[in-house]
Amino acid sequence: MKDQSLTRAKNPLVRFAISNAVPILFIILLIFAVPLSGFSSDYLLNEIITRLGRNSFLVISLLIPVMAGMGLNFGIVLGAMAGQIGLIFMLDWGVVGIPGIVLAMLVGTPIAILLGLLAGTILNRAKGREMVTSMILGFFINGIYQFTILYGMGSVIPISSNKLLLPRGYGVRNALDLLSVRKVLDNMWSIEISGVSIPLGVFSIIAALCIFVFWFTRTKLGQDMRAVGQDMQVAATAGINVDRTRTLSIIISTVLACFGQIIFLQNIGTINTYNSHDQVGTFAIAALLIGGASVAKATIPNVFIGITLFHLTFIVAPRAGKELLGQAQIGEYFRVFVSYGIIAISLALYAWRRQVEKETERRQAKAAIKAAIEDGTGG
């Protein structure tokens, strides 16, 4: 119903083009940029596969709040922070390998649930502007996170490993090495096909998550979330606890983001204690939007298409910038510009479209009444 005016376009090709304008635009952009960059297709394929494994989980964590009508959850950084806290404890306890990763997730989960509960409660007080609130809330909790890590850890919260602590005796170092768990999930089960290594382990985890999301939409709770997402008032009249449903969607999203960040970091191999989570929300959201999602509708295909296009842009932009303008730095800025710009454009288009739709609806309703009355007087 949200995309009504679009689906009314007569030509199916035009309709397809309009509703997928963003991905198509990026494909065109890449058609020019990829040859310019001069990367080999093997390299690109390898990179894309790595990045799909690395980012999918985080991007999928955005889907459920969209379903519940809370827009794009910039608050997944909360989950990312919870994941990082889990990893810090894992490092401190000296647990390595897959048990380490799972342990980090176990530790991160309750933190993510609490943060999700907080975020959900706050967003329920800011209905209608969830996105801006979740974004600022992310900044705010980032402050609390930094406070905890920088002053609490090693003083109040027991952290014993000197490898983690700053020389002054409390506070966690800036960069932490994740060598002990680096790529353990990726290497758990991976095959190589003509020079392209495919981390089947991670992909099967992602597949399991996709199945979960799919299954979830078919549960009572999933149905309730869809109802709440479309019309809170009607859902409340039917006896659905709207606030609780919304909070649950945020909690699920936060917990998934916590897992997602752990998967992401085990692939990268290091944590920037104070920065790794900063851009998680922005990049995940930009990727999802480039995949053709909107504030009100996001699907699993959007996730994979989006990550592929977004990261392909990310990889080739610096090199293409260098070839084109002689400065790799331009490409760096270009990709930042793309991620912010795409969010700005998508949000603006969405808000605009909603206004236009309201207007069209009004006009159509009026035309219908007019016609009905004229029929009545004529007959």
């Binding site: 706050i122 996105m131 801006v132 900044f139 980032n142 402050g143 800025y333 930042v336 603006a348 206004q355």
Partner: protein, 347 residues
């Protein structure tokens, strides 16, 4: 008695009281940890003066109902263009500063106009769209700083010979042109009279604008758009006008900031510029839909006071610099608080 205190608290809001008490306690502790109150106050005033115009720039948009201008970076960018261009032209002193303003204003007005058009299309979602418009414009300008053909050796990278530096000193051009005008210096105490006067002038202009027919219409458009429409006010036009004014003042604001700070910061530096200013305004008692000159002055003072006092006091107390973390918590906490407060007119 208790009732009136309760009322006062309700009116001021808990966060504001906590922060004011926090600041007071900082000033109270300061002498015990060997920090001179005079220096502290002087620092606070200098920072207040340099930030005040930026905070002020938010007011027109709040008043016209466009919400908090998280896209302030647009104005900042216009200001930066003015700044680097005036240095490129080699104009120094007050003339240089005025040149920068003169160049910045038309840019700001044009950017503001289109920004206003956009915001009119996304009513209800202004703030989140504005944030990302601001972010992406900063990233876009980062590319431009590399590409634009500026030549002054004071500004471009030493090697390579093209592209502006990340930080450009304004020393020798217009460092402190306002700060030092009629300034008072008694020992450690420094009063940047010129900057304060300049802020007062702009504040007076904005205040008097809101006393005119047009300004009154703008307030009404923000306060109740339907009422304004019923009284024959073109609400959309008022909103665009307010965005243009906000953007222009922000452009001037960043120049005031730079003449005091001493450097022009390019590339990603302006990215988060809007948030402290917004937080300061909210701290001063403004809401998402209403702001006054009083809010600007109180807010900028409280906010800068905390930023100045916490590092020095905390440093002496626990030998560690917590100012960054406190800044993050206070500014974003303030914004979250304001966003979750119930709005009266909104449906």
């Amino acid at each position: 008695m208790f009732e009136s205190i309760g009322k006062l608290i309700e009116k001021a809001g808990w966060p504001r009281i906590i922060i004011a008490l926090f600041l007071l306690s900082m000033f109270a502790i300061a002498p015990f940890v060997n920090i001179s109150i005079g220096t502290s106050i002087s620092d606070t005033i200098v920072r207040f003066a340099m930030n005040s115009v930026l905070v002020l720039s938010l007011v027109p948009m709040v008043q016209s109902g466009c919400g908090l201008n998280f896209g302030m970076q647009l104005g900042v960018i216009a200001g930066l263009i003015g700044a680097v261009t005036s240095i490129e032209l080699g104009v120094t002193g007050l003339a240089g500063f005025l040149t920068a303003i003169g160049i910045a204003i038309p840019f700001a007005a044009i950017l503001g106009f289109f920004y206003g058009l956009l915001l009119n299309r996304v009513k209800g979602d202004e703030m989140v769209v504005a944030t990302y418009v601001g972010f992406s414009s900063v990233a876009f300008m980062s590319m431009m700083w590399l590409l634009l053909p500026y030549k002054s050796p004071n500004m471009i990278w030493g090697y390579g010979g093209s592209g502006l530096r990340t930080t450009i000193s304004v020393e020798g051009y217009w460092l402190g042109v306002l700060n030092n005008f009629l300034s008072v210096r008694i020992g450690n105490f420094f009063l940047p009279t010129g900057t304060i006067l300049f802020f007062a002038l702009i504040a007076l202009l904005v205040w008097s604008f809101f006393k005119t027919k047009l300004g009154t219409a703008m307030t009404a458009a923000g306060s109740n758009p339907v009422y304004a429409k019923a009284a024959g006010v073109n609400v959309d036009r008022m909103r665009i006008l307010s965005v243009v004014i906000s953007t222009v003042i922000a452009a001037v604001g960043i120049l005031v900031y730079e003449q005091s700070f001493g450097f022009i910061q390019l590339y990603m530096a302006p990215l988060l510029m809007a948030f402290p200013a917004v937080a300061a305004l909210l701290l001063g008692g403004a809401s998402v839909s209403k702001a006054s000159m009083g809010n600007v002055i109180i807010g900028a003072f409280l906010f800068q006071g905390i930023l100045t006092m916490t590092p020095s006091v905390m440093n002496n107390l626990i030998k560690s610099d917590m100012s960054e973390v406190i800044r993050i918590i206070v500014s974003n906490g303030m914004i979250v608080y304001a966003l979750t407060r119930k709005m009266k007119v909104r449906k």
